[in-house]
C-alpha cells in the first residue's frame, strides 16, 4: 500500500485512526502491528514471511547479544554480532544482488564462448533494504550497551514493521523511539501536527514530484534523441523529482508517526541549499548517512588514521552506499562520484560547518565529517 493511494488515504488511514483512538492503551501496539502487517501484505504479499523471519531472527540475536554483554563474554558477543551481520547481509544479498551477480558471471563466461547461466530472476521484497538495516541496528546498539532489549517480541516487531517507516524509512534507531514503543501519548495536538506534516509531504509528492516526473521520464528514456536543452531540462526535472518524492515520503512518514505518538528522526534538511558535498550529505537522507557512519565508516577506522586511510574509508563507504541503492554499476559510479567529492572537500579544507552557521542541528558529524 502506498501513502498517496486512494485506498490508504480514504480507507486505511481514517479507519486506523478511529480504531486507534478507541482502543485501550494496552492494546494499541497490537493494533498498530496488525495494521502494519496488513499494510505490508497489501503490496508485499508472501514476502511478509521474510520480514517476519528478519524480525524474529534479530530479536533473538538481540537478546543473546545483550546476555553475552552482561556476562562480559566478549567473544560470544562478537560472535552474535557477526552472525547478525551475516544473516542480514545474506538476506539482503540474496534478494537484492543475486540477479546482478548471475548477470555479471554470465557476461564473463559469454566472453569465452560459453552459454550464459540459466536463472529464474529473484523478486525483491519491498522495503528489504530499510527493514534489514533497522533491525540489525538494534543488535549493534545493544552490543554497545545502548539501550535495553525488548522482552516482548511484539514490541520489537512493531519497532521494525511500523508502517509509516517500513517501506522507505526514515531508518529509525531503536534508542530514538525505545521509550515511545512502550509508553506514548495519543493526543489531539499530535494528531493535528502529524496530519499537517503528512499533508505537506503529500503535496510535495503529488503536486511537485509527480508533475515533473513525466519530463524526467521522457528525457531519460533510453535511445531518446535529445538536444542539450532537453538534457538540461530532464536533469533539472529529475533533480527536483527525486528530492520532492523522497523528502515528501519522509514528511508523510514522520507525520504519520507523530499522529500515533512517535517521534521519527528528520531525514532531509533542505539539502539543495548545501555549499559543499560534505554539507549535502549531512542534509540528504540523514538517517541512512548516520547508519553508514556508525556501522560502517567508524568500525573501519573513520577519520582516525592517516589522511590516506580516511580517503580510503570515505571511498569505501560511498561505494557501499551507492551499491545499497541498487544492483547496478550506475549506483556504484554514483557512490564513487560522491566519495571523490568528499575527498576533494577535505583536500580543499572545506569548513565542517556552513559558513553562515545556518544549521545548528546539523553540526553533529556524519560519515562526511566525523
Amino acid at each position: 500500500m502506498v501513502f498517496s493511494s486512494q485506498t490508504f488515504l480514504f480507507v486505511f488511514l481514517p479507519v486506523l485512526v478511529v480504531l486507534y483512538a478507541l482502543t485501550p492503551r494496552r492494546l494499541k501496539n497490537s493494533l498498530l502491528l496488525v495494521a502494519s502487517l496488513l499494510f505490508y501484505v497489501w503490496g508485499g504479499g508472501w514476502f511478509i514471511a521474510w520480514l517476519l523471519a528478519s524480525v524474529m531472527g534479530n530479536w533473538v540475536l538481540g537478546l543473546l547479544t545483550h546476555r553475552a554483554r552482561l556476562a562480559e563474554q566478549r567473544s560470544a558477543m562478537r560472535g552474535w554480532v557477526a552472525l547478525t551481520v551475516v544473516l542480514n547481509i545474506g538476506l539482503l544479498g540474496w534478494f537484492k544482488y543475486a540477479n546482478f551477480l548471475v548477470d555479471q558471471v554470465s557476461w564473463f563466461v559469454e566472453l569465452f564462448g560459453r552459454d550464459p547461466i540459466t536463472w529464474t530472476p529473484i523478486l525483491l521484497p519491498i522495503g528489504i533494504s530499510f527493514f534489514t538495516f533497522q533491525a540489525s541496528s538494534y543488535v549493534f546498539d545493544l552490543s554497545k550497551g545502548e539501550g535495553e532489549p525488548l522482552k516482548n517480541p511484539l514490541d520489537f516487531a512493531l519497532f521494525v514493521c511500523l508502517f509509516p517507516q517500513l517501506i522507505a524509512g526514515p531508518i529509525v534507531r531503536y534508542r530514538q523511539i525505545a521509550r515511545e514503543l512502550v509508553d506514548r501519548e495519543f493526543t489531539y495536538e499530535n494528531l493535528c501536527a502529524g496530519a499537517v506534516r503528512f499533508a505537506h509531504g503529500l503535496t510535495k509528492k503529488v503536486v511537485i514530484a509527480d508533475s515533473v516526473a513525466p519530463i524526467a521520464d521522457a528525457a531519460f528514456m533510453p535511445g531518446a534523441d535529445l538536444t542539450t536543452t532537453d538534457a538540461w531540462i530532464g536533469a533539472i526535472a529529475y533533480t527536483i523529482q527525486i528530492y520532492f518524492d523522497f523528502s515528501g515520503y519522509s514528511d508523510m512518514a514522520i507525520g504519520l508517526g507523530r499522529m500515533f505518538g512517535f517521534t521519527f528522526p528528520e531525514n532531509f534538511k533542505h539539502p539543495y541549499s548545501s555549499a559543499s558535498m560534505t554539507e549535502f550529505w549531512r542534509r540528504w537522507h540523514v538517517t541512512l548517512s548516520e547508519w553508514f557512519r556508525d556501522y560502517v565508516y567508524i568500525p573501519i577506522g573513520g577519520s582516525h588514521g592517516s589522511k590516506w586511510l580516511t580517503y580510503r574509508n570515505l571511498i569505501f563507504v560511498f561505494l557501499v552506499t551507492g551499491f545499497w541503492h541498487g544492483a547496478n554499476w550506475t549506483f556504484v559510479v554514483w557512490g564513487a562520484y560522491h566519495g571523490l567529492w568528499l575527498i576533494i572537500d577535505r583536500l580543499q579544507g572545506r569548513p565542517e560547518r556552513p559558513r553562515d552557521g545556518s544549521s545548528r542541528s546539523n553540526a553533529r558529524g556524519s560519515c562526511c565529517s566525523s
Binding site: 502506498v2 498517496s4 486512494q6 522495503g127 517501506i167 522507505a168 501536527a193 499537517v196 506534516r197 499533508a199 505537506h200 503529500l202 503535496t203 509528492k205 503536486v207 514530484a209 509527480d210 508533475s211 515533473v212 513525466p214 519530463i215 524526467a216 521522457a218 531519460f220 528514456m221 533510453p222 535529445l226 538536444t227 542539450t228 536543452t229 538534457a231 531540462i233 530532464g234 536533469a235 533539472i236 526535472a237 529529475y238 533533480t239 527536483i240 523529482q241 527525486i242 528530492y243 523522497f246 514528511d251 534538511k269 533542505h270 539543495y272 541503492h325 554499476w329 550506475t330 549506483f331 559510479v333 554514483w334 562520484y337 553562515d356 545556518s358 544549521s359 545548528r360 542541528s361 546539523n362
Partner: protein, 113 residues
C-alpha cells in the same frame, strides 16, 4: 545534477550518452517528446521545485512549515509558519487530492531500493 544523471540512467552507457549531450550536445530547441511533457502542471512543478536550489538558503520555508524552528535560517519565517501551514492544508492538500482522484498516481522512487 551530474550525479543524478548516472543515478537515474539505466546503464553506464546511457549515462555516458546523457552526459555527453548534457555537456557537449547540439544546442537545438526543445524536442517534441520533451515539449509534449512541458504542460502547465509540469512547468509549475519545475518552477516551484527549482525554488529548492535557486532561492537563497535564508529564504527556505520548508522547515518553518514543519515547525523545525531550529533549522530555519531566517527567523522571520517562523512568524508566518501558521499561515504557511494553512496554505498547505487549504491549497496544497486539496490540489493533491484532486490529482490523486484524477488518477495521476505514481509509486515512490525509493520503493525500488
Amino acid at each position: 545534477m551530474i550525479g543524478w544523471i548516472v543515478f537515474r540512467a539505466e546503464s553506464i552507457g546511457d549515462a555516458l550518452t546523457y552526459w555527453s549531450i548534457f555537456l557537449f550536445g547540439n544546442t537545438g530547441p526543445v524536442s517534441v517528446p520533451i515539449a509534449k511533457e512541458l504542460t502547465l502542471q509540469g512547468m509549475l512543478g519545475l518552477v516551484i521545485g527549482a525554488s529548492s536550489f535557486v532561492v537563497p538558503r535564508r529564504w527556505i520555508v520548508g522547515a518553518a512549515i514543519d515547525g523545525l524552528h531550529e533549522d530555519v535560517v531566517d527567523t522571520r519565517f517562523v512568524r508566518f509558519a501558521p499561515i504557511l501551514r494553512t496554505v498547505i492544508v487549504c491549497v496544497g492538500l486539496p490540489i493533491a487530492i484532486v490529482l490523486i482522484l484524477g488518477g495521476t498516481f505514481s509509486p515512490f522512487l525509493y520503493f525500488q531500493f
